[in-house]
């Protein structure tokens, strides 16, 4: 049973990526072009027009946006996956967690391609691959588990309260600005600074830049806190989906 589900998730991920590539004229190119256009827009506003950046601003922004887009797409695409597959949920006896997992895995494959491009760009800008790169493996694993956990929680609730979709995007935009994705949080003081130390997104952003830009290992204490938060989120999300699963096929269409 478990092997069958793994095969189903992997083939569905392949099917989703293949279908997505076939849906537009430029196909796979959009996977890279779309985030590149968004990074360009942020660079234009914050660096060129507002002059809030500094000498390292462009690599800072590129790393932040690449990781953030991955997290955000896992949370939103994964979060809407059960709701958008309710027709299938009514037809077949499958654990509903399959649907968000497929969405998250396909977003992760796209992230892998974008990340390879990012490494090339960073190298060209004078930040070559370095000996601390190995730490990206546990860091990315923690990011995926945390994003998947948040996505599972959203995925569990959205079929029951579809209106939540209108709120999620706005909440994520606020989280992005409070997590050092677009601009550094060095000048933040007081209560907000304390809050930032517990914000897992801010911690992983900082760790990724330490590795990719400065050849330094992550702040391990902060990293282990993120791991605990990620595991708790993931377990809570998976349990919530399991608990609510009997209700999904009975929802009004």
């Amino acid at each position: 049973m478990r092997r069958h589900l793994i095969e189903l998730v992997l083939f569905s991920t392949y099917a989703e990526l293949r279908a997505e590539a076939a849906r537009s004229y430029l196909g796979l190119i959009w996977w890279v072009l779309e985030p590149a256009m968004m990074m360009g827009a942020f660079w234009l506003v914050f660096d060129v027009i507002l002059k809030t950046g500094g000498p390292d601003y462009l690599p800072f922004l590129l790393i932040g946006m690449t990781l953030w887009q991955w997290m955000k797409s896992c949370i939103t695409h994964g979060g809407y996956a059960i709701w958008s597959n309710l027709t299938m949920v009514r037809q077949v006896n499958l654990p509903p967690i399959v649907f968000p997992l497929v969405a998250m895995l396909s977003d992760t494959v796209k992230f892998a391609l974008i990340f390879l491009l990012l490494v090339g760009i960073l190298w060209a800008m004078g930040y070559p691959p370095n000996g601390s790169y190995w730490a990206l493996i546990p860091l990315f694993a923690a990011i995926f588990v945390a994003a998947a956990g948040a996505g599972f929680i959203v995925a569990a609730i959205v079929p029951l309260v579809p209106d939540l979709r209108f709120v999620i995007e706005q909440v994520l935009t606020v989280v992005m600005f409070l997590s050092g994705v677009v601009f550094p949080l060095g000048q933040v003081t007081g209560l907000l600074k304390t809050f930032m130390q517990f914000n897992p997104v801010a911690v992983v952003m900082d760790d990724a830049r330490r590795i990719l830009m400065h050849d330094q290992l992550p702040n391990w204490i902060g990293f282990w806190k993120v791991c605990v938060i990620a595991i708790v989120l993931c377990a809570a999300g998976a349990l919530l989906i399991r608990a609510l699963a009997p209700r999904y096929p009975k929802l009004a269409s």
Partner: protein, 234 residues
Amino acid sequence: MGEIVIELEHVGVAFASQRNLAGARYWALEDVNLTLRRGERLGVIGRNGAGKSTLLRVIAGILRPDRGTIRRAPVSCQLLSLALGFVSHLSGRDNAILSGLMLGLRRREIEARLPAIREFSELGDFFERPIATYSAGMNLRLAFSVAIQVEPDVLLIDEVLAVGDAEFQEKSAAALRARMGEGHTVVLVSHDEAQIRERCDRVLWIEHGRSVREGGRDEVFAAYHDVLEHPAPA
């Protein structure tokens, strides 16, 4: 007499009638009793809205009862669903694998059956092309060819006995007849009395979500016709 594989006692299933938090519920199944034995071919009859399709989804394990009890032996139950999970930009081959996985087959099982699916569907070279290029008939042929490969312990069929043009209808009906004749346990929902008479040993009659009668085919049909011809005064 075979062992009991599924047993329902006073089963009721309620659906949300509206998409909101305080929405009322309605009972699609109110009180259904059913006993299914291994190797049995059970027909389910009843008028539109009686709850027949809901009952199949309860047996398949898709819907969990809100009241009553369901007991099942460790058996696989699969609803024969056409075009399950089909993606229009994928080839017939990829869709056959995807749909087969959704229907509970392992990947190696589907891949071993791909030549048979291709041949049965009569798609030829179109099997390798995106199904977005298919006609509705070609789509149904592929969908049926995949679905007929599934071999659960209990096969659940909801009115999909023959699809496509006249020639393929005959072929698909024959394939299904052959599958039902192989000694599988089958539950068949149909409005077509002739089909139920031809293919089922026992019949369950339900109305307004309640079991009215369950028993031998001739006995249940006699009671059913009696009520249809002499309805009780309102």
